[in-house]
Symmetry: C2
Amino acid sequence: MSKLTDVPKRILIGRALRSDRLGETLLPKRIALPVFASDPLSSVAYAPGEVLLVLSIAGVSAYHFSPWIAVAVVVLMFTVVASYRQNVHAYPSGGGDYEVATTNLGPKAGLTVASALLVDYVLTVAVSIASGIENLGSAVPFVVEHKVLCATAVIVLLTLMNLRGVKESGKLFAIPTYVFVGGVFIMILWGAFRGLVLGDTMRAPTADFHIKAEHQGLAGFALVFLMLRAFSSGCAALTGVEAISNGVPAFRKPKSKNAASTLAAMGLLAVTMFCGIIALAATTKVRMAANPATDLIHNGHPIGSGYVQNPVISQVAEAVFGKGSFLFVLLAAATALVLFLAANTAYNGFPLLGSILAQDRYLPRQLHTRGDRLAFSNGIVLLAGAAALLTVIYGADSTRLIQLYIVGVFVSFTLSQTGMVRHWNRHLAVEKDQAKRRHMMRSRAINTFGAFLTGLVLVVVLVTKFTHGAWVALLGMCIFFATMTAIRKHYDRVAEEIAAPEEPDDDLVRPSRVHSVVLISKIHRPTLRALAYAKLMRSDSLEALTVNVDPAETKALREEWERRGIDVPLKVLDSPYREVTRPVIEYVKGLRKESPRDAVSVIIPEYVVGHWYEHLLHNQSALRLKGRLLFTPGVMVTSVPYQLASSEAAKMRARRRQEWSAPGAVRRGPAGERPKEPSEPSEPSGSSGSSPKG
Amino acid sequence: MSKLTDVPKRILIGRALRSDRLGETLLPKRIALPVFASDPLSSVAYAPGEVLLVLSIAGVSAYHFSPWIAVAVVVLMFTVVASYRQNVHAYPSGGGDYEVATTNLGPKAGLTVASALLVDYVLTVAVSIASGIENLGSAVPFVVEHKVLCATAVIVLLTLMNLRGVKESGKLFAIPTYVFVGGVFIMILWGAFRGLVLGDTMRAPTADFHIKAEHQGLAGFALVFLMLRAFSSGCAALTGVEAISNGVPAFRKPKSKNAASTLAAMGLLAVTMFCGIIALAATTKVRMAANPATDLIHNGHPIGSGYVQNPVISQVAEAVFGKGSFLFVLLAAATALVLFLAANTAYNGFPLLGSILAQDRYLPRQLHTRGDRLAFSNGIVLLAGAAALLTVIYGADSTRLIQLYIVGVFVSFTLSQTGMVRHWNRHLAVEKDQAKRRHMMRSRAINTFGAFLTGLVLVVVLVTKFTHGAWVALLGMCIFFATMTAIRKHYDRVAEEIAAPEEPDDDLVRPSRVHSVVLISKIHRPTLRALAYAKLMRSDSLEALTVNVDPAETKALREEWERRGIDVPLKVLDSPYREVTRPVIEYVKGLRKESPRDAVSVIIPEYVVGHWYEHLLHNQSALRLKGRLLFTPGVMVTSVPYQLASSEAAKMRARRRQEWSAPGAVRRGPAGERPKEPSEPSEPSGSSGSSPKG
């Protein structure tokens, strides 16, 4: 990340960004899949394990239920995929859950979804990296021995990368994702081959462990409850499915169709891998326990806290490929890499959602400006900070983090699907064409079922996981919700305060005259230029103003003023305390008092220097004075800049900064392609700060 | 320091500051003495101990030399005092060593003195507080057990006090200083009385310790060298003598005379206390060792690291008054308090010197503005940081810190005295009046001797202490010197760059026309006001400019523009990347290209809000745009502020901030009373930043 390598890269990126618009970087499906699916696919690395973990509470016997849970997850996955295929068709603009909910269920629902998604992004980072570390750890013990440290290191690394605006290319995603998917499939097939054809007995490293059930012989409701908990853990496999619906604009034409089929492909892959791993885990007799130290029994003794419980996927890989074999290590590496990529997607999603929220004035407006480095940096740092906090608090333990994870996902699933139902109702109300109507009804049916099922799961998740950590996620959502509501309130209040009246009231009646004042310290180019410009503005009266901080200097100034015969009257203010600001402010206020209907224009010569440390040497009291003047009504403050030679340097920097490209460009598709939702123009957004678009 | 108690205090201070000018606060001698002498007087609290410490290296036998060293110190003290009495008469303006050196020996010498003084201020804080803690520790063991902690705490406390602008009154200094002086004199007299009249034998707590000489039976050069080292440690008693020469304006008339006699009184007190303590130390058989743990022998065994070696003054007090007696505790407390006051004087001197250096453009110009809170804060924080660093590095051990201390003092002594010699030579060259000439010659003689002696001591100090830490002080001086030279170079370069030519060259030829552009985001009060003001300025052409970040909003804007029939053409810029800054910049540049002789005036409506978090929600892109525009030649940027209701809050804050009064006002005397040195007005100081006085 040295500055040296950085500069040329920036320039390159700058070029790349421009060419964006030519649509060259639109994604073919084979690239789109990995770009959008790294998150959902990677989750099969931890989801199966979570299922077994929960079941283990009722002892090994409960493992029999794992296939049924897998089936449930599959059903759910298909439902969700089917539902989102409808979103993709209905919102080719890439309207994410937030927009779907806002447009169809109103702002409150939208904001809820937004809060849920924001929390989710944080957890995606935390969970994916934690799990990535654990997978890496199965091959490289050191990593898992220093879990928290390594996890935090990865977070820092990703943060730096994204702050630098490293633009990920499709390939970056493609290679590891395909390696991962390929690896898992080879594992499943080779496992099946060995098991069914060769008849080998493959045994996971934990195969001959026993599990001390925390609750022996669970039955009836308790058992059902446990199953439900296991199921809701398994639902972790669904996280990130919605990603594609945000990214439709990034697809090649026909966008919606391609996005839809990519979704389908992704769903198919995910479930196959999920089931395959569950099946292999069963055949290789993988044993997982919620508290391995005490509940895993080896030769009659608890295995103790020294033992590290590897993820299911790596245990299975070990059983199928053999410990330390090339394929085993490759798969472990690929898994970790894909999980880190999944985390990285959150780094793109978080600021993007932020900018959409800013557009609706739930967040500072300037976050909206696209590719605004500042805005993205803030978002990225906030995300990283929250994720790091969770990582440390939960000791980078993916199992404990996942307890928080799924709530947000299903909140947005449910609301978005409900929104879709409304959407179809709205359209059905006006649609006449029978064929279209039939199609819409079909879609509505799908979304209805999706809404129902995801809603059901949400309830299950809340009930089964609330005490296990879901409450934390809910708390986080509330905080986001409250903050954003407050910001929106502020903007609305301001918008009201500054709303332009139909008939200009006396606050806006055009002032009758303007009195210009040029601030002078010495006679040098900057002041002479300021004088020249001030004269150009034919204000009703013009005078030069200086503060007598130092009698000798003032005398010298007066004399030179005479000598040069400057045809502007020079007014000297006394300043017993060597102050600058106060006398000027008071003088200006005085002018206003004399003639309240007039405006005062204060013209300040300013240096423009190239480096911050130079800036420390100049303009300080000018800045303070300007700051104070802005609070004085009826005043306008004009800076007449004088560019010093050194300012070139800063100009260069500024230019380079502009060529910075925001992360996640790939997933977002070319700029300016995202037309607004019908609902939006009607929204007032006058409080957007002061410049053309604040 | 709660905000509540703070506000009223601020107002009071504000009042007090104003009344300054009435001269009420001019100092009578009885107050001036403690105000200026707390630093030099307090140094007798550690100087005697340092002498014994060094002598102990040659064993107890060497203690016999202490009287001789005392004599040497006394002679030196008288010389220095006599010399500075000349300064005071010659520079009633309160020209400190820096100005004396600059005026008579040129800027390089002056800058050297300045660097020395800056380093000295830092060490005054570190040494005084460390020693204060040790004295307090003799009464309150806890304090000395947590030396570094407590010392740092005191530094933080003083820093906060001074940042808050707590204005010390004469009394604040008077009471503890007089208690301290009184206490020491009572101790000396009572000690003498007990010893000579009552014939008691007073024994210091360390009286029956033996000292293991590091170098047994030193003789010849080695011994002389050791004596010299002891002497230069003793010179610590002279630190701060020069303070008065800075403060002449604070005295009642006749200023110089009063200042001179105060100097004399201070010198007299200092030497009496110094000698008295040395004498008592001898009679009470105080034993100090450089490394007490190993070199102090008690009953045949080294006393070990557990032992805390109390300062001489407290050991003597214990012998004379008795341990834990009221007077003993009182003296310990007073000593500590005076030492902390001495440290506090550095908090006043450092920023004051800073502002003088700023005036000569060796430091950022805005530090010059008097009572400029920001400037003072920076100085104070810098001072505190450096002092704290030293305190931690040297474990708040006054003995080790003093090794660094004396260099700076004598650098400025020597240069200032040499300067005075030059001063008299200059005046003698022109003076005709015989009486005056005789007087001048006398003064010159005194200063010459002073310069010689202090120069000699400087050499001794450098030779004997260089390896013991003096090099650190020298390094510090070099760093200050280099930095300030660089800053001055920068200012000079800029001054040259912006110097106004006699004949306005084409860079300054008055541009022929001005083209005004008002930036518009929406139609609301701020923009309407901006438009109204823009019209007032009868520029040659006026247009409104908006950036099309969002087609829908732009369309809405266009329509309302029509509807309201605003008589200013509305120009819309396209922005494919939803950027704001770049299109505007490029448009402005375009205008300039079309007609290079014209100026462009960009008018930006701005919100004025009350709280920083509100500011985060507004104006951001306005600020960035302004930042960029300043780099575009031929442009002036006008902010038309619109004060939102909440801005009142900020107005209040700003007003309160103005009522803050800079620390050290007492010692500096009333404002505006410090006329400039003859040399100064001639100096160009055009690079003083942009406002009336940068």
